[in-house]
Point group: C2
Chain length 337, copies 2
């Protein structure tokens, strides 16, 4: 009777459609190879606001309004707004929800937020509860770095495993019917703990969660890695990407193959842009999926994509108390039919 498939996967009875998306980014991301896929690239990380937090909120509201405009919709037509970000009390989302004035359900999945929002949007639409759900996620380098690690002015030397928090925001509009790629499966992840304690190596904290969610998705659906034109993890970076490839083999016997990429490695030119292990943050998977991938799906350059957004449940408080940094990953199967 339930739409559950296997152990952790859910299959909508009538695949919800992503009728519109939008992605905006900071200037540094705009200089990367996917810059041309952004709907707007800010010329300044402040986005004209008085605080970096204000800038992040400006980016999210811009992504949301752009997404709605593209579909010819206005906020009062949207039933539910699902959103999350990295800031304490997810203030980017809260203040954006205030401006949008759409009934709001806040989510927290660290950098897995894009997939969590998309998964819940699909379930609420397919469950018959909503005709339109707007899902958004954001991060900002200048808000996240100082909250999670060191004041940016301090100029701490970064380790090779460190990643660069992506500045930007992405939004998607999900409906029961319409033009666009559809959501065929969602796999809800479990929190996974490999014992990582280093907040400058979050790729390692998230890689096991990514691998286990992918393995479970393959097992639950019977669709192996070869089924997809593209499998993207959210923000594992170089080291995490390598780990995920190895773990998929060692834990599940799956060769992720050459179609497996990581959003954190796609955003920047990792040869020329000094981001160490790659990009990270909720915006990594959000702007790659809602900017680049969505447009490629519309053109049928991709037909079957598995988004596996990855989150490190890193807290400065628990980390400073000696706690581990667990990870989580949710997968959403997006297909152009």
């Amino acid at each position: 009777m339930t739409k559950k498939v296997g152990k952790q996967t859910f299959k909508p009875s009538s695949p919800p459609v992503i009728i519109s998306t939008a992605a905006v980014s900071g200037p540094f991301e705009g200089q990367g190879p996917l810059g041309k896929y952004m709907d707007h690239v800010y010329t300044d990380v402040t986005a004209g606001e008085r605080s970096f937090e204000g800038a992040e909120k400006e980016m999210m509201t811009n992504a949301c309004f752009t997404c709605l405009n593209k579909a010819g919709k206005s906020p009062p037509e949207v039933d539910i707004f699902l959103s999350g970000d990295l800031l304490n009390q997810t203030i980017t989302s809260g203040f954006s929800a205030l401006e949008l004035a759409i009934p709001y359900l806040g989510i927290y999945g660290a950098c897995s937020t894009s997939a969590e929002g998309l998964a819940l949007a699909a379930m609420l639409v397919d469950g018959g509860f909503a005709g339109l759900v707007l899902a958004a996620a954001s991060s900002h380098n200048s808000t996240a770095e100082r909250q999670y690690r060191y004041p940016t002015e301090y100029g701490v030397q970064r380790k090779p495993t460190a990643q660069w928090t992506v500045t930007g925001s992405g939004a998607a509009l999900v409906a029961p019917a319409g033009q666009g790629p559809v959501i065929t499966y969602v796999t809800v992840g479990k929190v996974t703990d490999l014992g990582i304690k280093d907040p400058l190596n979050l790729g390692a904290a998230m890689a096991p969660a990514a691998a286990l969610t992918m393995i479970q998705h393959f097992a639950d659906t019977g669709h192996g890695p070869e089924y997809y034109d593209l499998i993207v993890t959210g923000d594992l970076g170089k080291f995490g990407h390598e780990m995920a490839v190895k773990l998929a083999v060692s834990r599940g016997g799956f060769d992720l193959g050459k179609n497996y990429r990581d959003c954190g490695l796609m955003i920047y030119d990792t040869e020329k842009q000094d981001v160490h292990s790659g990009g990270s943050g909720c915006a990594a998977s959000a702007i790659v999926t809602y900017g680049y991938i969505y447009k490629k799906l519309l053109k049928k350059e991709f037909n079957k994509v598995l988004l596996v957004a990855t989150g490190a449940l890193h807290s400065p408080t628990s980390s400073q108390q000696g706690g581990n940094i667990p990870g989580i990953a949710h997968a959403v199967s997006i297909e152009m039919t």
Copy 2:
């Protein structure tokens, strides 16, 4: 075609059943008038853990396992765990999800989390996605006060409008069928901003959201305040409760009547226990609803209850930057049939 009723309310086609709940609290809450309804009262706020954060996590996992045990269920039988708390990065929920090992979707609604979790649980169950959803929420005085306001050792003088963060956790298990009260409607709130800037007066920040969500619920469902045996807001406290009563009249023309109470005022003996304006925190509505109200519903001493959990989207960062503190409230209609 959708299950939307009016502007912000959703009606499950087959009302999901709350088949089990559990509530645990700290010692101070145990001394209050509802202490006897708790499944467990800790004798110490550390709950035997090395940190207050560890204590809060112990309380949430205890509430979750107790809730499952009462229903004769184990974590592998649960499809989705929905949880949130007040701590940055919602670590109580994240670490509890790790221990429970149930596929996890993190939520953030500040103190409105209990109703947000229950609303989403009802929608996921009624949408056919889950046979069992576990929803939890928690707060802890010693973790929240120092994060949001001042170090507790500092002993800052509290204003009359200040509230006391409730220590405890509550959990509910929602299923498509079974014994227990059912969820007949959920009303998803909008973020509301009255311009409050004082983190020691969160009742005022939340009261407009509570009033507007109640007014919308009454308008959407056609069920006025008189329909319910009990209407409870989450944690408005004395001042917020008074404001909500006035706003319901001035904004919507509704007399909330004598059946309207506030969980933050029910937990403590406000004459004898020095909590100023009353209790607050995610646990306020969670332990009152999942401890006291649920048991009264089972005995049919209440038959129709409207839970209106209220959240202040208070962030020390945005507050110190001069931002307002917006509020949100979600309503869940729980009926014993």
